[in-house]
Symmetry: C2
Subunit: 126 residues, 2 copies
């Protein structure tokens, strides 16, 4: 790793950029993680995640669906039932995300501590 040459390592067409930008919002990673246990209903995700609005959940799921990470299954029942499920591609993203959450569990304390010991929103040009 760490083997990008000098001159143009992070070009816009770098595949890493796509993934980073795919997760670069408040809910995408959380929603993916919420789907990691199997098919889940819309309402279930709302409860499961906690704090997300229906609008953002739907919007996030739509994007993930467009990216081929999530599949949607609507059942013509009464009341309506819609289930979301990770595609194999989406499921393969769970592992990287999980690596991230594991880091979080081990280092959240240190990060919070650093935030606490840096209470000065003061610039360096002080």
């Amino acid at each position: 790793m760490s083997g990008f040459g000098p001159g143009g390592p992070f070009l816009a067409d770098c595949p890493a950029r796509l993934t980073v930008e795919l997760l670069a919002d408040k809910w995408t990673a959380v929603v993916l993680y919420g789907l990691s246990r199997g098919p889940v209903r819309h309402g279930e995700l709302i409860e499961l995640i906690g704090g997300i609005s229906r609008k953002m959940l739907t919007q996030t799921l739509r994007r993930l669906e467009a990216h081929g990470l999530v599949s949607r299954h609507a059942y013509a029942e009464v009341p309506p039932r819609v289930e979301y499920e990770l595609t194999p591609l989406g499921a393969s993203l769970i592992d990287p995300i999980h690596t991230l959450t594991e880091w979080a569990r081990e280092n959240a304390d240190a990060v919070l501590d650093a935030l606490d010991t840096t209470p000065e929103p003061n610039g360096h040009g002080d």
Copy 2:
């Protein structure tokens, strides 16, 4: 792992949320990755990353510094020289991020393909 119980798995105080939101912007992960080779100067990062503005770079570095992931070293020289470096805490985040970029390199093709086969911004209420 993957064993969050039903009822409240993703509470706001979950450490994973902090990390996800820390990376939930366009540049944080990229900047961290750009620092993974060792101390780098401001201007070098601009060239290295490509596409980021000085403002966003400084802003991102400031936040990472506040979170204890990056350290800043200013040298009183002429012309001024400022180097940024990952702290041990920050360095420990490179691995999870690298896992993500590896996934990207292997699956970016599939994602782009899915995006291509989903040209319909049409709702499901079709």
